[in-house]
């Protein structure tokens, strides 16, 4: 049985449509009369608890399935890697789950979780790290005890660390196999700089230098209650769950809370960049760093991007590059603001080598158009409606909803963000969109990175509609492929 949600008032269609015969089918779907759907976003505070030691816990029980899902989210991640040990935080996150605990071997811990049918995992991301457990309510006690042991007392067993390092090396060897990996690597190097954590990649020597002691050190920095927020969903009673957590955290020492992630210091050098790869289809990213998440221009940018290339088939780039011209299967733009520094705007596509230039040209035309002409009211309304109508789905699953609350709290998002979201979307005007496009979409400031076969790309399409000398007066920086294990240029 579902638990009633006091903050969510949904009017089911059953009560409104009635059971009498439906009138004739309207000639167009816009003419269908829909019952209203009243939805108010849930308030984080209604799910929030604080343990005696000060740790925040979000609880959202549901008894539909006999499963319990616990997620520990820690502030701190790969930005904490020392310069000569890139890969340390990632190794620490992965090895917590794989390396046993101080009292149980890795193999026995794996057996225990598997036999109990529990999914336990741990990882370190760029700015946040996590450990999670999904298990049957019937054996929650045993699973949770081992999970807490794993989070608090990881063993980082040597034999498993050796396997992890070898696996990472094997992954590295594949760095030049797929054009997508080459592109995303060079893209991040250009936008964030080689040494910024967004771009930094482990090398053979940085991985080989890692020891279990190094992992313990990183574990002490990230995985402690001072960085932690807990979220629990599934089949449990809140009172009992709070007590379980209270007991588990009882003597868990607070470490020093981690600092915020550092901002990149690189200056993007605009231009066309190319990496050679013998494939029939070129892969392209075009863009630059634009805004932070809490920027006042966030909502105009959100809608601008949807209209330009982030709104699926309805958006301009998809419509022209894909459906008009058939130049790409996937063509789009995305805006990825970061919390602590400006994140990127990026248009991307893949097209057969000879039509790479043509697709690029069309995308730049569309960027120019959204800068110079106001979007139509209809286009804007479609983009606004899409965000407003799908808004309830943001909170569809309880685990997803708590994940939002945890993330908001860890990154100090303004508390009424979700409550004012739809009003902020509605408030954006065509003039706002033109203004932010003019401010941020500066084509002559952008990097245009191409991976593919240059002799086929450079000369452009058969009909002569575009070629690579159409951009930056034909100036190109040919980037060398990098040695997969050292990342040093190969010539």
């Amino acid at each position: 049985m579902p638990i009633p949600q006091p903050s969510i008032i949904a009017i089911g269609i059953a009560g409104l449509i009635g059971l009498e015969a439906i009138a004739d089918i309207p000639p167009h779907p816009q003419q269908i009369v829909f019952a209203p759907l009243v939805f108010e976003p849930p308030q984080a505070g209604e799910y929030r608890h604080t343990l005696d030691n000060g740790v925040t816990v979000y609880l959202a029980p549901s008894h539909e399935f006999p499963l319990i899902n616990i997620v520990f989210t820690f502030k701190g991640g790969r930005y904490l890697d020392p310069a000569d040990q890139v890969g340390l935080a990632a190794a620490t996150g992965a090895m917590m789950r794989r390396g046993g605990t101080t009292t149980v071997s890795a193999q026995d811990m794996d057996e225990e979780f598997d036999f109990l049918a529990a999914n336990a995992s741990s990882s370190a991301g760029l700015t946040q790290s996590s450990a999670s457990l999904n298990c049957l309510a019937s054996n929650f006690g045993q699973c949770f005890a081992r999970f807490i042991d794993m989070v608090r007392n990881p063993g980082f067993q040597e034999s498993r660390l050796a396997i992890y390092k070898q696996e990472t090396l094997e992954q590295m060897k594949q760095r030049n196999d797929h054009a997508a990996r080459i592109l995303s690597r060079e893209w991040r190097f250009l936008l964030y700089g080689d040494n910024h954590f967004e771009a930094a990649l482990p090398t053979e020597s940085s991985i080989e230098s890692l020891t279990a002691d190094d992992l313990q050190w990183m574990h002490r920095r990230i995985f402690h209650p001072g960085n932690l927020i807990v979220a629990v969903t599934g089949d449990f009673e809140p009172k009992i769950m709070l007590q379980e957590l209270q007991d588990a955290f009882d003597d868990w020492a607070f470490g020093e809370p981690v600092s915020d992630p550092p901002a990149p210091h690189t200056t993007l050098e605009p231009g066309v960049y190319h990496v050679e790869k013998d494939i029939p289809q070129g892969r392209v990213s075009i863009g630059l760093r634009a805004i932070r998440r809490d920027d006042p221009d966030y909502f105009p940018m959100l809608l601008m991007n949807r209209i330009l290339g982030g709104g699926g088939f309805v958006s301009r780039i998809v419509s022209r590059v894909r459906s008009d011209e058939g130049l790409a299967y996937s063509a789009r733009s995305a805006m990825s603001p970061r919390v602590h520094y400006r994140g990127e705007f990026r248009a991307s596509f893949q097209s057969k080598n000879p039509t790479v230039a043509l697709a690029m040209k069309i995308i730049l035309q569309e960027i120019q158009r959204i800068r110079s002409e106001p979007v139509s009211d209809d286009e804007l309304a479609t983009a606004q409606n899409a965000l407003i109508e799908t808004f309830p789905r943001t909170f569809e699953s309880k685990a997803g909803m708590l994940n939002l609350f945890v993330n908001d709290e860890l990154t100090n998002r303004e508390p009424d963000y979700w409550q004012t979201y739809r009003d902020n979307v509605r408030a954006v005007t065509p003039a706002d969109i033109m203004r932010v496009a003019q401010t941020y979409l500066l084509a002559d400031q952008m990097a245009m990175v191409v991976v593919g076969k240059w002799d086929e790309i450079a000369s452009g399409d058969l009909e002569g509609r575009a070629n690579m000398s159409d951009f930056f007066s034909g100036a190109v920086t040919h980037l060398p492929l990098r040695d997969p294990l050292t990342l040093r240029p190969m010539n």
């Binding site: 579902p2 969510i8 089911g12 269609i13 059953a14 409104l16 449509i17 059971l19 015969a21 439906i22 089918i25 000639p27 779907p29 269908i32 829909f34 209203p36 759907l37 399935f65 149980v104 071997s105 193999q107 026995d108 794996d110 225990e112 598997d114 036999f115 109990l116 049918a117 999904n134 298990c135 063993g155 067993q157 040597e158 034999s159 396997i163 070898q166 696996e167 060897k173 196999d177 797929h178 494939i279 029939p280 289809q281 088939f313 309805v314 459906s323 008009d324 058939g326 299967y329 893949q350 057969k352 309304a381 409606n385 407003i388 109508e389 799908t390 569809e396 699953s397 058969l462 190969m490």
Partner: protein
């Protein structure tokens, strides 16, 4: 610290849940034969996941039209007489006009260009660069007409209507056995879904046909031709299936993709997109009693096909001899060993699935033996793939360190022999069953995922599988696994693919990279031969000779010779240092 291995933990009770999961599905069939499956779920309020399955996929195709099921899926988003055009009659005229030109073009390509291609006069009959004058004229006409047509097309109106009204995650996919169209709508907009989906089943119009075909070509380049292993997997698949239509790729062979016309697509629609070949699935926040009248009203207007779609008659023939493929690619060295097994729902499919589970995961046999034990694999997994008409079982692994694919292949045969000769211990089997029981709940949590599973199962066998399979999997015994391991895994029933890394440029070989391609290959071959020489004196003599003759070498070839000398000297240094140790 290293801790002792072995069973230090005692498990007092098995953790199998006592209550079996059960999905309440309401199923009914309209008079026209269209079936519906409804699952009311209020746990995720305010939204409905809805979709429908056409029981048609690449298995229903034939040579000449391979890939048409998938292409068709793309065309279904192009609109109807109502959606997507400002003038339905003019629209039809333009489409007919383009169709006529394309027909003439195809005829010319299949006759004139194919013949020129067979004689070696052109490298690709489909490449527009090889067009004759007549074809160039036709192609220009086609382009002109398509551009005129665009003036009365309402671009992507199908997507626009959904987007504006809150539809999300709208998409579709095509497999060998079925085609699936789905979307999420707010719970007050079920009627929108009924309108949009029944409309495109009622009078779909295949406009922008030829631009969309280019999109599918790009999709093929993206998924198959530009990925490290895509084109080789396609070839392996074509080798593995002998008589079965599973041999060709879902996306189709390139020449077929170029060939089909709107007429062909229309014919396909008339056969396979009739209500008696369709299943609708709705999961989410609704009451069945409220949406059933809407379903009847909208989908009831579709007329039943004149006949049921033709049966897929060609069965896979029995494999008589082992098949092997040797591929060189820009990829991690790896291996796949694949066996013909049984279709979806076959009595032995459950034991095969359990066998795969015994092998998989970090406590599974493959990880323990190959990743952790012998340390020859960086990953290893097994999988049972039961399709509607036939099935396969695969072992796959990627190498670690200096290991090579044949070692992984051998290691697999050892694991197979263990399964054939020794019963799987009870506890090991129970562990796998525990996980399967818990996963039976996990896979029901999302409306959308539940929708996909119900559609898939109903499309290839029966939706009841979702409720019946957990018990059938629990009933598998160790004897069953031993028996199937001895039934389907003979040498003559297997196909083996070995992937080795294509020699690439070594980081230090800047000199080699600078050579033109034919010289590079020749020099590389020569160097490979030299690297096998172990006689230090001979190498030293060769190096001296080549250096001495450098003046007489034509300037264009000097770089190549210098490179060979460099490699000989490296080899000499290597031999000297190893003999010194």
């Amino acid at each position: 610290m290293h801790l002792a291995h072995g069973p230090v933990l005692v498990f007092i009770a098995l953790s199998t849940p006592t209550v079996a999961q059960h999905v309440e599905v309401e199923s009914f069939v309209l008079d026209n034969g269209m079936e519906f499956l409804l699952v009311e779920r209020t746990e995720q309020p305010n939204s409905i996941a809805a979709g429908w399955v056409a029981k048609v996929g690449s298995v229903n195709e034939r040579p000449g039209i391979t890939g048409i099921s998938h292409f068709f899926e793309h065309m279904m988003f192009k609109g109807t007489r109502t959606i997507g055009t400002r003038d339905a009659d003019l629209d039809a005229e333009y489409i007919a006009g383009q169709e006529a030109i394309k027909g003439q073009l195809n005829e010319l390509i299949w006759t004139v260009q194919y013949q020129r291609f067979r004689r070696g006069e052109i490298d690709d009959p489909w490449n527009a660069a090889n067009d004759t004058d007549q074809m160039r004229t036709l192609r220009a006409e086609l382009r002109e007409l398509a551009e005129k047509h665009r003036d009365i097309i309402v671009k992507d109106e199908y997507s626009e209507v959904y987007t504006k009204l809150g539809g999300s995650s709208m998409n579709a996919f095509t497999s060998e056995d079925l085609t699936f169209y789905f979307v999420n709508v707010p719970s007050n907009k079920f009627e929108l879904w009924a309108w949009m989906e029944s409309d495109r089943l009622y009078d779909s119009v295949f406009r922008e046909f030829y631009a969309e075909r280019d999109v599918v070509h790009e999709e093929r380049r993206l998924r198959t031709e530009s990925t490290p292993t895509g084109k080789f997997r396609e070839q392996f698949n074509a080798m593995f299936w002998q008589s079965s239509p599973y041999a060709w790729p879902v996306i189709g062979w390139p020449s077929d993709l170029n060939s089909y016309t709107r007429k062909e697509a229309q014919r396909y629609f008339n056969i396979y997109y009739r209500p008696n070949n369709l299943v609708g699935v709705v999961v989410g926040d609704f009451q069945a009693s409220a949406i059933k009248p809407i379903i009847r009203e909208y989908f009831g207007r579709l007329s039943r096909g004149e006949a049921n779609p033709p049966a897929v008659v060609t069965l896979e023939v029995e494999q008589r001899a082992q098949m092997r493929m040797d591929a060189q690619c820009d990829c991690q060295p790896q291996v796949e060993v694949r066996y013909h097994t049984v279709p979806f729902g076959h009595v032995d499919s459950f034991a095969l699935e359990l066998m795969a589970e015994v092998l998989n995961g970090r406590t599974g046999r493959l990880y323990k033996a190959m990743v952790e034990g012998q340390e020859i694999a960086s990953s290893a997994s097994a999988g049972a793939d039961g399709r509607k008409y036939a099935g396969a079982f695969s072992f796959r692994a990627q190498v670690k360190g200096d290991a090579d694919p044949p070692q992984l292949e051998e290691a697999w045969y050892e694991q197979l022999a263990r399964l054939q000769e020794e019963p799987v211990p009870q506890r090991e089997l129970q562990k796998v069953k525990n996980r399967i029981a818990a996963n039976a709940y996990r896979r029901l949590q999302s409306n959308f995922f539940l929708l996909i599973q119900l559609g898939l199962f109903e499309g290839i066998g029966g939706w009841e599988y979702i409720n019946e399979s957990p018990a059938k999997l629990q009933a598998v015994t160790t004897d069953d696994i031993t028996r199937i391991a001895n039934t389907y895994f003979d040498k003559s029933n297997r196909a083996v693919a070995l992937y080795t890394r294509k020699a690439g440029l070594e980081p230090q070989d800047v000199e080699l990279a600078a050579l033109d391609a034919p010289t590079r290959d020749r020099v590389q071959q020569q160097v490979n031969q030299l690297l096998k020489v172990k006689d230090l004196g001979r190498l030293q003599m060769m190096a001296a000779m080549m250096e001495g003759m450098m003046d007489q070498v034509p300037p264009d070839d000097q770089a190549a010779v210098k490179y060979v000398v460099k490699k000989i000297k490296e080899r000499i240094a290597e031999l000297e240092s190893s003999s010194g140790n």
